[in-house]
Amino acid sequence: MHEWALAEAVVSTVSQIAIREGLRRVTEVRLKVGELQQIEIEILRFALSELKRSSLLEEAEFIIETEKAELRCRVCGHKWFFRRNEVDEDVAEAIHFVPEIAHAYIRCPRCGSPDFEVVRGRGVWLESVEGVK
């Protein structure tokens, strides 16, 4: 997902959680970002800092952790990591927008199968939201 769209999604989800939990303001948000989607963390941080203005998240600190993208072949069981420098620029770009497109381009390095799963490190996940009531 594009970083700005992503930041918007994060702010909107955190706001919903804050309202549901009855938080007056959010102090800390922990995010996990998988490497498959090649999110530019600096752009994401900047977008979050812009979008959180005059919201419940205004004072929130964002703790962003990245996670390696681990793939596992469903045919032969081989596990490997996605590395951006091993695919072409436009393939990396397509995977950035729609990570599942990896199945159109990436094959198991051991048996050549396109039938693999992304075990970890696919997209963006909210780990925790903290705040004061």
Partner: protein, 247 residues
């Protein structure tokens, strides 16, 4: 804890007035041709129309509309390119013709991703070209796109209608709005489908005859719009617009 993409989907579709999901329990009944032609017909009436191809393993509307020379632009997400006046989105802009073998969970993820990043903006009708069957795509539409209305396509065949009966019962059970049923590729007079549809309490929208000139028109929108098929779809578009905007 939570997937941030899901909550933004509703926002992305906020300015979309009506979502029309063109679906069928059966494959090859004409969903993609109807979705494409219906979109063009609605746009022709002056509506702002989006067309979203969510048949991720076998997209085909880009071939019907000859939509490969454009591409989405990046701007706080993704803005669909214009194709013959339509806002058009398909996974082909990312898979560029490669086969993308996807399992159910990947299909869902790809749909969530595209729904979360695509900015449709002010739109009167968003037409969705669905893959065949009663599987992930139908369940995801129901789960993720709360304002989806279904437009169900069948052929005169009892076999096609049987799958449509199942799809319609599922939608009825889940209280999802069904605009009506279209009978496509009609070859001879028979009241069978209309009777069955009405017996289920659904609206029979009309029939489209089998049109031998259709295959020739695939990829050539001007030609497509001159077919008898398109003539029929335009009549249906009129009905569908009146019916859904009247709700």
């Amino acid at each position: 804890m939570a997937d941030p993409r899901v909550s933004v989907i509703e926002d992305r579709l906020k300015k979309v007035n009506k979502v029309l999901s063109v679906s069928s329990g059966k494959g090859g009944v004409g969903k993609s041709l109807i979705a494409s032609t219906l979109s063009l017909a609605l746009a022709d009436k002056g509506y702002e129309v989006g067309l979203f191809d969510i048949d991720f393993t076998n997209p085909s509307t880009h071939i019907i509309l000859n939509a490969e020379s454009v591409s989405p632009t990046e701007e706080n997400g993704v803005i669909p390119p214009r194709v013959r006046g339509l806002k058009y989105m398909s996974i082909i802009y990312y898979s560029s013709g490669h086969v993308s073998p996807l399992r159910g969970v990947d299909v869902s993820n790809a749909l969530i991703e595209l729904l979360a990043i695509t900015r449709w903006g002010e739109t009167d009708f968003l037409v969705i070209d669905m893959p065949p069957g009663i599987g992930d795509a139908v369940l995801d539409m129901i789960r993720l796109v709360k304002k989806a209305n279904f437009l169900v396509v069948t052929t005169p065949s009892k076999l096609a209608f049987e799958t449509v009966r199942k799809l319609a019962s599922l939608l009825l059970e889940m209280r999802i709005p069904i605009i009506g049923v279209i009978e496509n590729m009609k070859m001879r007079e028979s009241p069978f489908i209309q009777e069955q549809v009405e017996k289920m309490g659904l609206r029979f929208l009309g029939e489209i005859p089998f049109d031998y000139s259709l295959e020739e028109a695939i990829g050539d929108v001007n030609k497509l719009l001159k077919t008898m098929f398109a003539q029929k779809v335009k009549e249906l578009a009129e009905k569908i617009a009146l019916q859904t905007l009247g709700d």
